[in-house]
Symmetry: C2
Subunit: 337 residues, 2 copies
């Protein structure tokens, strides 16, 4: 995809290296916490949990918690357990998502449900969610607990909203953005916000970090949506057209459907709504997306959110951490390159 | 089943009426809270949640929280939200259990997953769990949060343990009791314990209520296990032999298998382990259970736990509430009558 600007490209080349470097010491403690908290006498629990946790995710969300806490000069060690909680919440969501989506692959490996069954995926997800709350309680900050427990409910609400909207090609862009604001961006927002809450910073910093997280999460999801029609399996850990085959209505499709003629709308209805997919349909879908510049429009929307995310950070004085959080935005968007 | 003593019978005839009466005013507030907290702009959420919540469960667990809080003279209104949280945790577990067990029926009605699909059951369960934690956070008691979040992790751990033990006829009675101590009794224990925690009572009362809940939960589950081979669909909301058909290893089977000869063990292996069930097999199973007095032994075990539950309550001075909590034990056990 050639929609990425030169500035984005150069900023993105640094990628999340700065964020990784600045949070490295804390991240080692988070990883140790994650490892110890997946431990259980029930052997299947660490097996399933670690299959996913060790499968090479970037751990972007816990890194955000660590960076936000550092940016707010949060004292103590609470941010370590909160970051681990955030990763557990994310992992639990992935385990349940795979069951809901009937996915075969996750991060380039067989989904846990293919190896251990749907049952284990549901239950180990529940276990991780329980452990996440346990760690939050140990930290003892009621404001952080409120932020993260609200996020847990909102994420699930967003997923149900998506389920209800699934197969509905008339889903508007606004409704779709509501869905991903809940199912994806809410955890990014909470991951960032707890940094300010733990440091007992004022409303301005809290709102800024929450807004940064929301906008970054939205950008992240939209780029994911675009990549699904333009990336490759190696990069994303899934195949081009997974969303298409699963009948998922994402922004690129919403745009192409809206801009398409009757024949094209009939095509989207047959493939995504009725689930009748024949040889060559993915190529037809890709051609329609290209004709209506639907991927470009999706990436443009992501870039807008990225700009909002960066603008939100300006409430903080310049620092290496702030730069690193800005780079994370560019990195997310430049994945579409 | 004729294993219930005359005393149990007369105590049980009062049933949980006293408990219902003593908690009626609070329970009305809990029900209103439950109703408002299943609300969501996403229509599917209240639909699925209320299908189960309104399906005529006894709400024993939240009643226990209310009774324990009253017994400890807990001030304020925190017990209302905690009781609602307990019911949400229970409902979430049921929704996920039905997916895990591939159940068709729950409380005499089609399971939610049969009406809305596994996807909605998983996600609405997650939503309810999130809402449960939100309410607990609003109450603001870190000790209660600790008790209930630990229970959430332990319940899931117990379910995974059961999954791992499933099909394993060599499961010992001790292992099985560990499973149900986690998957069933942990929530009963936490539901009771938060009453003492909210009132900031001392260790003696806390331990007593936790132990009462654990033993009541164990007794409750064992009677359920026995009823599955001897009750009727109307009473339990499921059919005789559901556990058998699902290949669940419960205490009656563990006992019959242990006491059986080679031929009988081969029968249990074929039906429960390998899942090959033919016409007449349920009758054969029932005959084997009767021959080895496996149901009587299971109920005897339940009665032992019931006695422990009642003994634990004696740390509290005599009162109508204490009597009602004792009656609840007799009620649970006499269900086997």
């Amino acid at each position: 995809m050639g929609f990425v600007t030169q500035i984005e490209k150069s900023r993105a080349e640094a990628g999340i290296d700065a964020l990784v470097t600045l949070t490295r010491a804390d991240m080692a403690r988070v990883n140790a916490t994650i490892l110890s908290r997946t431990g259980s006498d029930v052997a299947m629990i660490p097996e399933v949990a670690n299959h996913l946790i060790e499968s090479g995710g970037k751990r972007l969300r816990p890194m955000l918690t660590l960076a936000a806490a550092a940016l707010c000069q949060s004292p103590g060690a609470g941010h370590i357990k909160l970051a681990a909680s955030v990763e557990f919440m994310h992992t639990a969501t992935l385990l349940h998502d795979d069951v809901v989506d009937e996915s075969d692959m996750r991060r380039g490996k067989p989904a846990a449900r293919k190896l251990w069954g749907n049952q284990a995926s549901v239950l180990v997800g529940d276990f991780l969610l329980g452990q996440a709350f346990r760690m939050m309680v140990e930290v003892g900050s009621l404001t952080c607990l409120d932020e993260l427990s609200s996020a847990a409910a909102i994420i699930a609400e967003g997923e149900v909203m998506q389920l209800a909207a699934a197969k509905n090609l008339a889903t508007s862009e606004a409704t779709y953005l509501d869905v991903i604001r809940s199912k994806t961006a809410a955890l990014f927002a909470a991951a960032c916000a707890v940094g300010a809450l733990l440091a007992e910073r004022g409303a301005a910093e809290l709102q800024a970090l929450r807004h940064y997280g929301t906008c970054l999460g939205l950008a992240f999801q939209l780029i994911d949506d675009a990549l699904d029609y333009g990336g490759n399996a190696l990069q994303l850990g899934k195949n081009v057209g997974d969303d298409f085959r699963e009948g998922k209505i994402t922004l690129p499709v919403i745009i192409a459907h809206e801009r398409g003629d009757d024949e094209e709308r009939a095509f989207w209805t047959r493939t995504l709504d009725r689930g009748i997919i024949e040889d060559g349909d993915l190529a037809t879908a890709l051609a329609a997306l290209a004709r209506h510049e639907a991927l470009a429009a999706t990436i443009a929307k992501a870039r807008q959110f990225g700009e909002d995310a960066i603008a939100a950070l300006q409430v903080f004085p310049p620092s290496a951490l702030r730069d690193a959080l800005e780079d994370a935005v560019h990195f997310c968007i430049a994945r579409a390159h």
